[in-house]
């Protein structure tokens, strides 16, 4: 398929091949504007019996055809360019199917070059299976065994600042060489290895790895202690992903032939969109994309973009691992009905073994949303641990830094500075009621002070991310009009006291009208404020609570409306807690669910 000139593009078909579901959207230019027309989906078919990702793609497109009422396919081929009512002008795709891009990274110092390499791999959309560092606690033969066992799609080796010592990098290269690593897919091809370390060690690395691996050398991703430069390494990862990894996954050669635009790893595409939002609106953003196998968290604070992927936290393939990592009590604390542990465990495991099924009863939905909260919480914890300042470099420290106890390597994710929290992925985008998505995000991320909330309406951020590389105008028009659903604003003071004690008294003024409310500790309340409306919220605080101006200090803040409204969360922060006894927990959750009208009567 050849790409027509931008101004001639009237229709765009975009697919995202997830690990569970393949989603297709049809965008058309109508009355001078690009709009989403319909969306279809079908199970992903990387697995047997088809083992061909294009079957799922074609099935999803067939659903789009059916819903749009116009032909897009001629047999197994996409009709292009658009001819009258038939076909589309552009076809694009992203993919995280087949386990996504699985990488191992190696660096000399765990908290420095190895961490930078990890960020580079994650930034490119990879799942990092393991980080090998010269100074991690494992013995050399254990590292070798690990490299041999894991069979990644690709390996990224870094280490040393430019001009620094070369010995440790050479030692790492020797470990890799001794392990003779094999690639995950395709027995017959050499494992792609990217070297992005000290320039002086390039020859040493070549001598050790060129004969045994498909070695690519790129710029040092940590050229000096205080600078990261992971763009060239990320670009190389993306290129090798297409030429090596995708080419060996079932059906991807066919998929690549269907599109003129390179297939992008799904997280890379979502990251692009997140950065676009932050840049356009000059705000700090945290985004989350919770999938079937993995959960990605993106953050943009100031100029710094970070992405992490929690490879084994997800809602279908990885659902059981959420339970294993969080533990039964943490999952159970979000289940708003009485349920035996045996029952909860079996429900979660049954989802694991039949990952494409969906909840049909309310109780099943409640269990899925309970586990989603824990998947999101754990993924965010992991993100905060990796989204940190550069360690190892010297920093100018002021007196206030010393009082704040800040240090190099502190997390960059500060909930008090967060402006917008965006959720994406099936469990959030397809939550039957939008307030369910809002409460899941609040419970998992515990935003503080004033935070806007939004969800991706029908989980189309990946497609729009890749579209932005081809037609930025179309991507932004669809993003603003059809993609982002503004849920409203969460107002959450930091502090806690006994349930029923005073927390805040508020007055919301919007559109010339005012409305007052009192929220007691342990409660949550919604004040309606429509999409697109802005208002001023005057908050009178109890002395145990802080809204950013100090404990007990009143504040007036601007709040933005949404389909849910202004959510006043007085359930407490630092700590936030739930009753430990089952009856108290069920009653407490029922009260909150009722306040936000989360579920139909149950």
């Amino acid at each position: 398929m050849t790409l027509p000139a931008k101004e001639k593009i009237l229709s765009i078909l975009a697919t995202d091949c997830g690990s569970t579901t393949t989603k297709a959207i049809l965008i058309e230019k109508r009355d001078g504007e690009y709009r989403l027309i319909v969306r279809g989906e079908a199970p992903t078919t990387v697995e047997a019996p088809f083992e061909d990702v294009t079957r799922g793609v074609l099935n999803a497109i067939m659903e789009v055809e059916e819903l749009a009422g116009r032909p897009l396919l001629d047999g197994d081929n996409i009709i292009h360019p658009q001819q009258g009512n038939r076909g589309v002008d552009v076809y694009i795709s992203t993919s995280s199917a087949g386990g996504g891009l699985q990488m191992m990274v190696c660096g000399v110092v765990k908290n420095m070059s190895a961490e930078s390499a990890q960020r580079a791999a994650l930034g490119a959309g990879a799942i990092v299976m393991d980080v090998i560092a010269s100074n991690d606690s494992r013995l050399p033969h254990e590292k070798i065994r690990r490299i041999r066992q894991l069979r990644p799609d690709m390996l990224l080796l870094s280490g040393g600042v430019d001009g620094g010592t070369t010995q440790h990098v050479a030692a790492l290269a020797e470990l890799i060489s001794a392990a003779e690593p094999k690639a995950r897919l395709g027995a017959g091809y050499e494992l792609p290895v990217i070297y992005a370390g000290n320039v002086d060690a390039r020859e040493l690395v070549k001598e050790r790895l060129e004969a045994k691996t498909a070695l690519t050398i790129t710029e040092n991703l940590r050229p000096t202690m205080d600078r990261e430069n992971w763009r060239p390494a990320s670009d190389t990862i993306h290129e090798l992903f297409l030429t090596h990894v995708m080419a060996h996954a079932p059906g991807y050669k066919k998929l690549m032939a269907m599109s003129e635009v390179p297939i992008m790893p799904t997280p890379g595409a979502v990251g692009l969109i997140m950065q676009t939002i932050a840049a356009l609106e000059k705000i700090n953003v945290v985004g989350v994309d919770i999938g079937g196998a993995t959960t990605d968290v993106f953050s943009v604070f100031g100029e710094t973009f970070n992405r992490t992927v929690s490879a084994n936290l997800g809602m279908s393939y990885s659902v059981s691992n959420v339970l294993a990592e969080a533990g039964i009590p943490n999952v159970m604390r979000w289940v708003p009905v009485n349920m035996e542990e045996v029952d909860l465990r079996n429900r979660i495991k049954n989802k694991m073994i039949r990952p494409t099924t969906i909840p049909q009863t309310l109780e099943e939905l409640m269990v899925e949303q309970a586990i989603a909260r824990e998947a999101l919480r754990l993924a965010f914890e992991q993100h905060k641990a990796l989204a940190v300042g550069l360690r190892g470099g010297q920093q100018a420290r002021t007196i206030s830094d010393m009082f704040d106890q800040t240090e190099t390597g502190a997390t960059l994710v500060n909930m008090a500075d967060l402006d917008l929290l965006v959720g994406s992925g099936g469990v959030l985008s397809h939550a039957p009621r939008r307030q369910q998505a809002a409460l899941m995000m609040i419970d998992a991320f515990l935003p503080e002070f004033v935070t806007k909330l939004a969800v991706d309406s029908i989980f189309m951020m990946p497609q729009l991310g890749v579209l932005s590389t081809v037609h930025d105008v179309a991507a932004l028009q669809v993003f603003h009009r059809d993609c982002l659903i503004h849920l409203g604003t969460c107002v959450a003071p930091v502090g806690s006291s006994k349930d029923g004690k005073d927390c805040m008294k508020v007055t919301l003024t919007a559109g010339g009208a005012s409305r007052s409310a009192e929220v007691k500790a342990g409660d949550i309340l919604v004040l309606p404020l429509a999409v697109g409306e802005k208002g001023t919220l005057r908050i009178g605080l109890d002395r145990n609570y802080d809204m950013g101006a100090g404990k007990g200090k009143d504040r007036a803040v601007e709040v933005t409306g949404g389909v849910v409204g202004v959510i006043l969360d007085a359930r407490g922060r630092r700590p936030f807690s739930l009753p430990a006894d089952p009856a108290g927990r069920v009653a407490c959750l029922a009260r909150w669910n009722k306040a936000l009208d989360i579920y139909p009567a149950y």
Binding site: G98, G99, Q167, L175, S320, A324, K349, N350, Q360, T361
Partner: protein, 375 residues
């Protein structure tokens, strides 16, 4: 006409199946195309490179990395025995010497003048791959393995643990919803693949190991029992490597679940026959389900329609519900409405209308919650 692809588990009394038997690394294929093999025939053999042990000679002997090569008293490529001295350096004008001993039997593979490391490789480990089922070698993958073709019964389970095993299939229950009493695990089950009905517990599995059963086939298992049996909470469904002394194959899912009627009927027909079982499950890219294979001379059941699940879901297709609230029920597709419909959860999804065979009438279900079956 509307149709959709729905993955389903294969359960059939007679089909041609191919089993790929591949070495983890290149090696030697020991059989030829067309050769008839038994399950026990070794079809390919290789040697896995031995473990690698880096020895930092520069540190051990206190010499610069660039000088370590000169300390070797056995050249690179030589074999060394555990505790054998392979490098030595003299200090104090030759009055004193320090030496390095080999930490294991192996070969001195390489030396680095940058890091001062010697790489010692332990002896290779032999690996053999057998045919797994009685059949014929259909294809030889040069240096890697073979494809064995056989005809017979093929049953996919939903989840399993433990690797490949074989044994005589033995029914311990007479109906799919029955649960076998532990007393049935007597001396007669030694080496057998036992079918134990709707449920298997941790206690039962441990008794089955003691009795020497090679595999257990059950409709369901409680996750709590699985955790107790394995000793850990199973996170990601990638199994097959467990060394529990038994292979477990679950046909339906977690909880008490009667074995599907058609699966049970087929298992019953295979009673007394030698079957190959593999519990390996991988519910992620390149999905793998546990399986029972039994080579046969011809169909073993009557009235079997060998339809293919690959034809897609359409009106008249036989399906089974794979999620609550109708989990396990069998029915026939009445229609596949194009419009999205609302569920109890208030979600709007693509649905399928199914007429249940038990007289409970027509129900509307999410398409995602049914699987195609062959009757």
């Amino acid at each position: 006409m509307a149709h959709a692809y729905i993955p389903g588990l294969r359960v059939t009394d007679y089909m041609t199946f191919e089993v790929e038997r591949r070495l983890p690394l290149k090696g030697r294929v020991l059989v030829q195309k067309g050769q008839v093999v038994t399950a026990e025939t070794v079809v390919a053999r290789t040697e896995l490179p031995g473990n690698v042990i880096p020895v930092n000679l520069a540190n051990q002997l206190g010499v610069p990395a660039a000088d370590v090569e000169g300390t070797l008293i056995k050249p690179i490529g030589s074999s060394v025995q555990k505790d054998e001295v392979f490098a030595r350096v003299k200090t104090m004008f030759g009055l004193m010497s320090q030496s390095a001993k080999s930490p294991a039997n192996g070969v001195l593979e390489s030396i680095s003048s940058v890091t001062g490391q010697v790489i010692l490789r332990e002896p290779p480990m032999p690996v053999e791959v057998d045919a797994y089922v009685n059949g014929t070698v259909k294809d030889v993958i040069p240096d890697e393995g073979v494809t064995i073709e056989a005809k017979g019964a093929f049953i996919q389970g939903i989840f399993g643990i433990g690797g490949e095993t074989r044994g005589t299939l033995k029914m311990l229950v007479s109906s799919p919803s029955e649960v076998a009493a532990p007393e049935k695990l007597d001396a007669s089950v030694k080496g057998c693949v036992v079918v134990v009905g709707a449920y298997v517990s941790n206690d039962f599995l441990n008794r089955a190991i003691q009795a020497g059963a090679s595999a257990v086939v059950a409709g369901g298992i409680d996750d709590k029992d699985l955790r107790d049996f394995l000793g850990y909470d199973l996170g990601v469904a990638i199994t097959g490597h467990e060394e529990m002394g038994i292979t477990v194959l679950v046909t339906e899912g977690f909880g008490h679940m009667p074995i599907a009627e058609r699966t049970f009927r087929l298992l019953k027909a295979l009673d007394g026959k030698v079957v190959s079982v593999n519990g390996a499950t991988q519910i992620r890219a390149g999905v793998m389900r546990p399986e029972i294979l039994c080579p046969l001379d011809g169909p073993i059941l009557e009235n079997q329609v060998h339809a293919s699940a690959e034809e897609g879901l359409k009106a008249g297709a036989n399906v089974r519900v794979i999620r609550q609230p109708y989990f396990g029920k069998l029915g026939t597709v009445v229609s596949l409405p194009a419009e999205l419909q609302m569920l109890e959860t208030e979600a709007h999804v693509r649905v399928v209308e199914v007429e249940f065979g038990d007289g409970s009438g027509k129900k509307t279900l999410p398409r995602a919650n049914v699987e195609m079956i062959e009757t």
